[in-house]
Amino acid sequence: MSRHRVKAVSYDEDDYDDGYYSPDPEEQEFLEQCTTEVLNQLRAGDPSVIATRSEVQDALYHYYDDIEKSVNYLRGKKVKELQKKQAAPPAAPKTKGTSGPSPDDVVINAQSSAKGFKSKQPASKSAGNKKAQADLTGGMNDLSVEEKVNIKSKNLDVLSEYSKAERKRAMNFAVIGHVDAGKSTLMGRLLADLKAIDQRTLDKYKREAEKIGKGSFALAWVLDQGAEERARGVTIDIATNKFETEKTVFTIVDAPGHRDFVPNMIAGASQADFAVLVIDSSIGNFESGLKGQTKEHALLVRSMGVQRIIVAVNKMDSVQWDKERFDEIEQQVSSFLTTAGFQPKNINFVPCSGISGDNVTRRSDDPNVSWYQGRTLVDELEATEPYSHAVDKPLRMTIGDVFRGSVQNPLSISGRIDAGSLQVGDHILTMPSGETATIRSLEVDGEPSDWAVAGQNVVLNLANIDPIHLRSGDVVCRASAPIANVTSFTCKVLAFDHLLPSMVDIHRGRLHVPGRISRLVATLDKQSGNILKKKPKIVAPGTVARIVVEMDQAVPLEAPTRIVLRAGGETVAAGLLE
């Protein structure tokens, strides 16, 4: 394709070298292209100037379409004009030059690229011109708002790059717990004490929080960025934030505790390697939490495949760091967690206080806490073994969010790569829409990068796709190994509530669709997986069953994926696709 284009262009050039000028369409098109070229060079070069289209076309005519000469001529002319005007608005031309192309040019650019012409260049240009073109392409990257047709892939061997790269180990953890247990505040404290957030911002939050009479929420505001969240003092959606210790880069996924937002919490937990369960130790609140989301969240993260859990017994200052209280909570929670399927060696308890910061990053100097000699919360986080990811499997990434990144990146998606790897220039396939897109650029943990592998949190800036094809919950894969869209699946689930053929919501990370249990195939033995009873009428809580779930719309799902079924605001089952 591109070779063909080059040929056509050089043919055109021969044509006008002969000195003929005829207004045939090809010629016109070429003129358009040259005009654009000149305009761009004028803008990109130094000093940057603006010329009208007719001026440019006149100049081109006089110089027999020689771009370089036209540019020089126009620049000389414009600079003179500029100097005359300089006194009046000194900064004006410059800002105009850097702020972006005029609407007129945008249209032209779009037109020329629509015709299949890259704004970089006829290949038969002299060597001297190449440098100008390089500048130009650089300039184009900064300036252009139109979609670039081609993004060059560097054809990296991502896996070997990955093994060569000496990065700190990176881990995600989800912060879960009952509503008002102090999850956001505890994490805000962690970020503040580790200097991941500056004092000035913190002071600002403190002032603003006090203004609306919610002074104690100031730390939570570090993560609760939404206006609604701040006004109500409740986390609604997950917030991610990262901080570094000496050895590790941690990404916090702060989950909402309120029962209405469990779907968001599921999305957060699906990105986590391990979990921090925050428990309110104050009298009454612990007990109500254990019945509420403390329990549901713990069950959920376990069924999402999380092995390790750190229990932060928060608000210990409100019970005067009472050791008995701590022991009581430890005993109750650990017995519950073991029944939920966590191994005792993977459960750790830390008594702490988010609001004062005791035992979060620094050991408490309160004499009442002298009985606790264990690790602080940060030490516990660091003691966690990293989790290995399937980097050599086919690419899978669930889209967490679709947004407009910036002027340069009008369409960006974020998420965590579940499996596989990708690099800039890759063509990806999004499911269920089945549309392809090109990765224009990507960011890993907020830093620009050329490649990314499973386990990393990435922002992909996409080109060549319409945003209506992208929804959070969609899956990114490759055309060579696509994920299938299914309308029904069989899964093996652990029932948390009675199951019978009924309507359910199906959750997989951000994916969130309505469906129905259409058949109860069998109840299974918990250990061996043997069939106990075929076609049960109802599945009792606590039993393992094989069920068939149907959905109205096709959804990208494949075995072995972990799914969660909810109905009427409660989690009814969780399990594995078969």
């Binding site: 939404g226 109500r232 609604i236 407009r404 992208l470 009675h498 009924s502 009427g568």
Partner: protein, 408 residues
């Protein structure tokens, strides 16, 4: 629906003439008219005539056609019913045996005839059909269009109309709302856009008069509008409507008093069941048919959960329970979806009608026919369309044949 003429014979054959008055009546007609019935209604047919010279001319003519029904096509969204079949009466323009599709129209009579045939191959006006006819004919004139519900969550809204007999999903609004991000104000902007689109859609679907003059002149009653969502989305939407009403669209002020915000577990349509059960809604829509139906389904599921063996579901299981006499006097309730009576297969329909008759007349139990177009009916359909609350526990015979594949 208005009953114009009723000539049902004792043996179950006979004709009725009906006049549909409301869109919901089409749904009743859809349930009443079965394949094999004779339907007479006015029709417009394009007739092509060929002259002796070979030239053709076509004209549209108004006819009264009687057809033997072959199939029905019902569009719940626009409440249109198309009945196709073969013409049985001779007219100047049509021959017997030609095919025609009748479009039933509001305020135009149609006549429905059901036959039982000499050897009983038809079903005639059985007890279910007569009951449906009674339901359809609004004698006291006390039926009202019930409520509008918007079940929503961030980026998703279902606008539906809840009637006496059906819940119609009028429109689904789906938008991608950016999530909250560090330093991004996209989320609030996206949410506002979503509210705006939802409100526009709602107003259009309700055919709500938004002109400024409507505030003073119009005295039409506004239906209750239920806004349901998890979290704060519905409350936010209400606030948004208030905002719009006080600034750009004053006519919306008429809408404000009838808005009720309730909680639902998700923004999907099946959360409507929860919405209808909430106390706030119950007071507005007291004792409507669907409220009773929802209650009944909840009772049934409760029994099932308690594993008392006093509830069962599925065609075969229910039939065997009836055989054992467990669906009788003193609390036996047969719950059946009217989808089963719409079956194309005469034998299938007879099977269910006889079951219903038997429970009601012989066993003395209660029979509730649930509308498959309501949330509760849809839940029942998931269970195979038929369920029963039993008077005594019956043991599930474990030795059921393994190869049975009795799916709906």
């Amino acid at each position: 629906m208005r009953l114009v003429k009723n000539k049902i014979e004792l043996n179950g054959s006979g004709t009725v003439t009906l006049c549909p008055e409301e869109p919901e009546d089409m749904w009743h007609a859809y349930n009443l008219i079965r394949p094999g019935d004779l339907l007479r209604a006015s029709a417009i047919r394009r007739v092509t005539t060929t002259q002796e010279t070979g030239s053709t001319s076509s004209a549209r003519v108004h006819l009264n056609l009687e057809i033997r029904v072959k199939s029905l096509d019902f569009d719940p969204q626009s409440s249109q019913l198309h009945v196709s079949g073969q013409i049985v009466n001779e007219t100047a323009h049509t021959k017997v045996g030609q095919h025609h599709t009748l479009d039933l129209e509001l305020n135009r009579n149609f006549t429905l005839e059901k036959e039982i045939g000499s050897d009983g191959e038809g079903v005639g006006w059985d007890s279910i059909a007569v009951q449906m006819l009674k339901d359809a004919v609004d004698e006291g004139g006390n039926r009202r269009a019930e409520a509008v519900a918007v079940v929503m969550q961030e980026g998703l809204a279902h606008i539906c109309f809840i009637g006496q007999f059906q819940t119609i999903l009028k429109q689904k609004v789906e938008m991608s709302v950016p999530r909250k991000r560090h330093g991004g104000g996209d989320h609030d902007k996206g949410l506002n856009k979503f509210f705006q689109v939802t409100l526009d859609t709602l107003v259009r679907q309700m055919e709500f008069n938004t002109s400024a003059t409507a505030l003073s002149t119009s005295n039409e009653t506004v239906r209750p509008v239920l806004l349901a969502s998890p979290g704060f989305v519905a409350a936010g939407f209400q606030k948004y409507i208030q905002g719009v009403a006080s600034t750009s669209m004053p006519a919306l002020k008429r809408l404000l008093p009838s808005i009720v915000v309730v909680h639902s577990a998700s923004g999907y349509l099946h959360s409507l069941a929860e919405v209808l059960q909430s106390p706030a809604v119950k007071t507005i829509l007291a004792d409507t048919k669907y409220a009773r139906e929802t209650k009944l389904m909840d009772d049934f599921l409760d029994q099932l959960r308690k594993e008392t063996n006093k509830a069962t579901y599925g065609p075969r299981e229910v039939e065997s329970a009836v055989d054992q006499g467990a669906v009788g006097r003193g609390g036996g309730v047969l719950i059946i979806s009217n989808r089963l009576f719409r079956s194309q297969d005469v034998a299938e329909r007879k099977r269910w009608v006889s079951l219903v008759d038997r429970v009601r007349d012989v066993e003395g139990g209660e029979v509730r026919v649930l509308s498959s177009d309501h949330e509760s009916g849809r839940r029942l359909d998931g269970l195979g369309g038929v369920a029963a609350l039993l008077t005594f526990p019956i043991v599930d015979d474990a030795g059921e044949d393994e190869d049975e594949d009795d799916s709906q």
